[in-house]
């Protein structure tokens, strides 16, 4: 039989319940025939937590309240139910870190959590925790607790996914009960009720543990035992593919040289295809052999407010990706105009394409009004805008835009000839050919 504890005295006050838990844990692990090298003890901060130095298992001593989350990582990474992960945590740690308990139980992570419930924060001088029962006194609660404490067993029993929950009094020999909890796969929890002689007993002279538990209405019983349940298994994928989809590489089909970079800004409303239109422009530029960047701006909630995109195309390498003074500004909605107002005012030249329903602010840019919203509908206004401005400026080949648009699945449902008619531009047979994917 292997030892789990060193021979040194345990680091607790005389009579502290924590002593019994340590001794019973050793005994329980011996009952189950564990090797200490197959056990990882994760301890919280609190008096109970400094026990790690006495254990001959692997030990991980973390932060106040976080031991269950820390053990979650250990357990999920080991991914081996033959390695026993045990958590020692106090009522204090379980108070500050309750989320982690619920979460570990919910997921059924493989571990046994042993809550050392002495109804107070022992390490910091006996302040009450959320587990302090009604009427229970501490040095900081001379008149006793004003409310009932958490019933952690009830709480955790209510969580779907838990394998085993029990409460016991931490007196005499409870190694069999602990061993039962340790033997369960998935998530098991044992709440051990104890008294801290230094603060609990002092503040409640003559009080007996069983009386405290009883008057708190806490049942000493097994709340859940699902018996032989499945262990938690971490998904470890092996069939991983590179994020680089080289088959999506863009070929230069319409070689174009630009004397200087073109900086374009599209401003409209969320849900009106601004980002998609900008991506068409970007891709058309790259298909023309140019370098390109596209940056999106929008409020946090998708689907409302403005949506803006900046596209830069250049024969040279693009460094700075902003467009404080764009060559082309396209505004399709009032939201977009609000967002773009300052930039438009700053424009020293270039072109402003703006929907006819809007009024262009003072600017040095050439202002071109067109009823994009009326002709294309709100949803297609951005798409109409990019075709229109490319047609009128010829900045990059229209063929490139037709090509990348034709490759996209939305092209199938889209009436291009009608759009060109509405844009007052002829749509030719030749243009239609360009939308057919070029091999």
């Amino acid at each position: 039989m292997k030892n789990f504890l060193t021979d040194a005295p345990l680091p607790f006050c005389k009579g502290c319940g924590h002593n019994h838990i340590a001794a019973n844990t050793e005994k329980a692990l011996q009952l189950l025939g564990y090797d200490p090298m197959n056990v990882v003890l994760v301890t919280d901060i609190g008096c109970h937590g400094i026990i790690d130095k006495s254990f001959l298992t692997h030990t991980v001593h973390g932060l106040h309240g976080r031991s269950v989350a820390l053990a979650t990582g250990v357990s999920a990474a080991l991914n081996n139910p033959d390695k026993k992960v045990i958590v020692f945590i106090g009522d204090g740690g379980a108070t500050i870190g309750m989320q982690h308990l619920i979460d570990a139980a919910h997921n059924g992570f493989n571990m046994t959590v042993v809550i050392h419930n002495n109804f107070l924060y022992g390490m910091t001088g006996g302040q009450p925790s959320e587990f302090t029962p009604f009427g229970f006194k501490t040095p900081y609660l001379p008149d006793g607790g004003k409310k009932t404490g958490y019933d952690i067993c009830k709480l955790i029993s209510a969580v779907d996914g838990v394998s085993y929950v029990s409460r016991l009094e931490g007196i005499s020999d409870f190694s069999k009960e602990l061993a039962e909890a340790f033997s369960r796969k998935g998530f098991s929890l044992v709440e051990v009720m104890e008294i801290c002689p230094s603060y609990g007993v002092k503040a409640n002279p003559g009080m007996k543990l069983s009386k405290v538990v009883e008057s708190a209405g806490l049942k000493i019983e097994k709340f859940v035992d699902r018996g032989e349940t499945e262990a938690y298994q971490t998904t470890v994928k092996t069939d991983l593919k590179s994020l680089f989809h080289e088959e999506d590489a863009i070929k230069t089909l319409f070689p174009t040289q630009l004397e200087k970079p073109i900086r374009m800004m599209l401003c409209g409303s969320a849900g009106e295809g601004v980002q998609a239109a900008a991506e068409f422009l970007l891709k058309a530029g790259i298909t023309s052999g140019l370098n390109g960047t596209k940056k999106g701006s929008y409020p946090v909630t998708v689907g409302v407010g403005f949506s803006a995109a900046e596209v830069i195309l250049s024969s040279d390498e693009i460094l700075y990706t902003g467009s404080p003074n764009p060559d082309v500004m396209c505004v399709t909605s009032a939201d977009g105009l609000e967002y773009a107002r300052k930039t438009i005012a700053n424009m020293k030249g270039g072109k402003l394409f703006i929907d006819s329903t809007l009024t262009a602010p003072e600017t040095k840019a050439e202002v071109i009004y067109f009823p994009f919203r009326e002709r294309g509908g709100a949803k297609n206004s951005s798409l109409y805008m990019i075709f229109y401005f490319l047609k009128t400026t010829g900045m990059i080949p229209m063929d490139a835009l037709l090509h990348v648009f034709g490759e996209n699945k939305i092209a199938k449902k889209f009436d291009l000839p009608k759009m060109f008619e509405l844009l007052n531009e002829p749509y030719t047979e030749e243009m239609s050919d360009k939308t057919k994917t070029i091999a």
Binding site: V42, I50, T59, V60, H61, G62, L63, A249, T293
Partner: protein, 374 residues
């Protein structure tokens, strides 16, 4: 760019490169909680890394990562200030336990929730003081799409070599902007092979030799007992009050990071002979800086440029470089010049000025103006 290379361009964002980089370098798991502008890192990681966990919050995220790291696996996460703030105590724990991991911090406009969809470079000051006691937390940043590919793997190597959490500092526009980018001819990234303690002698988890880095051994191995602790501890990993051995161990955490190893030193120094002015930048502002320098030089002026990537602890070589110039301009997207303050203190230095601002990227024009101003 070669024609053949141009033929093979993809439309990519920096997040994709970062995740592919950590995947190839051998990251085992991404654990995270969603936050703009780090969400692309979250979603690409879900697809690309062997394991992925959606944690219920950022404290759990860091704790789960620490647990993962104790077993010898390499965890990665990504967040922005609000999430990073919640991680802070746990990052200190990882630092004290000496657990390698990568935390990608995508800066956005603060304070507090600020503007989630607006980039910023406002968190360097926080990182400088992130570890209680003022111990240096290694921070590396990226300055280009190419860096999105190279720096994450290098940061991981640094984390493993030094047994420490490393922060990869970036910001919204750097990792969300789409660009034409050729993945052909990128320097190869190989899986980082980790070595663990292998001796029959009793393992002392925090005993070190000349490297000042203790040899790692995963928890739950069957040969030796392993202890990790966040409390002040001796070489055995046993909690101590302030024993000499334990305090020496704590001091070692400082010295370990101050070795300024060349293999962890990353910067681009573009020196122009005869230049009196040096412009310094990092992160998102680097691109504007490069553009400004090109423009200024095209007009016949002389200027040198230093783009720093190893940010913290500050490598002494940066001071050696800056000392060669009569005038130093430091450009960064925050109000007060956080990197400048880290280098020169609140009082500053008469030869050093900043180009600063918030809520929009610093423009090349402003940097050029500062370079040329008398």
């Amino acid at each position: 760019m070669e024609t053949a290379e141009k033929e093979m361009r993809l439309i990519m964002d920096g997040s994709e490169l970062i995740v592919e980089s950590v995947a190839r370098a051998g990251a085992d798991v991404f654990i995270g909680y969603p936050i703009t502008p780090a969400n692309l890192l979250y979603s690409y990681s879900q697809e690309r890394l062997p394991s992925f966990f959606a944690a219920p919050d950022e404290i759990s995220t860091l704790q789960w990562m620490c647990g993962y790291a104790t077993t010898g696996k390499f965890p990665v996460t990504a967040s922005s200030f609000p999430g990073f703030a919640l991680m802070l105590e746990s990052i200190n724990m990882a630092y004290m336990m000496e657990l390698p991991m990568l935390i990608i911090l995508v800066q956005r406009l603060g304070p507090a929730t600020g503007t989630a969809t607006c980039g910023a470079q406002g968190d360097l000051g926080l990182l400088q003081g992130a570890i209680s006691g003022g111990f240096p937390l290694p921070v590396v940043s990226i300055s280009s799409m190419k860096d999105c590919w190279e720096m994450p793997a290098k940061a991981m190597k640094m984390a493993i070599d030094l047994r420490t959490p490393v922060v990869l500092l970036t910001s919204k526009e750097e990792i969300m902007t789409l660009s034409s980018f050729s993945v052909k001819n990128l320097p190869e990234i190989n899986k980082i092979e980790r070595t663990f303690y292998n001796s029959t002698e009793t393992y002392m988890p925090y005993k070190t030799g000349a490297t000042l880095v203790p040899e790692f051994l995963p928890v739950a191995n069957t040969e030796h007992q392993v202890r990790f602790t966040a409390s002040t501890h001796d070489q055995k990993g046993i909690i101590q009050n302030t024993s000499k051995e334990a305090i020496d161990n704590t001091k070692r955490l400082e010295y370990k990071h101050r070795q300024n190893k060349t293999e962890h030193l990353f910067y681009d120094y573009d020196e122009q002979s005869g230049a009196d002015t040096l412009v310094v930048s990092y992160g998102i502002t680097s691109a504007a800086c490069r553009e400004a320098v090109n423009a200024v030089r095209a007009d016949g002026h002389k200027v040198s440029m230093l783009i720093v990537k190893t940010m913290l602890p500050v490598p002494p070589v940066y001071f050696e470089i800056m000392d060669k110039y009569k005038k130093v301009v430091i450009a960064e997207e925050n109000l007060t010049g956080q990197f400048k303050n880290i280098l020169f203190g609140e009082r500053g230095n008469k030869n050093v000025s900043g180009v600063n601002g918030i809520a929009e990227m610093i423009t090349p024009a402003r940097i050029a103006e500062a370079i040329l101003s008398k």
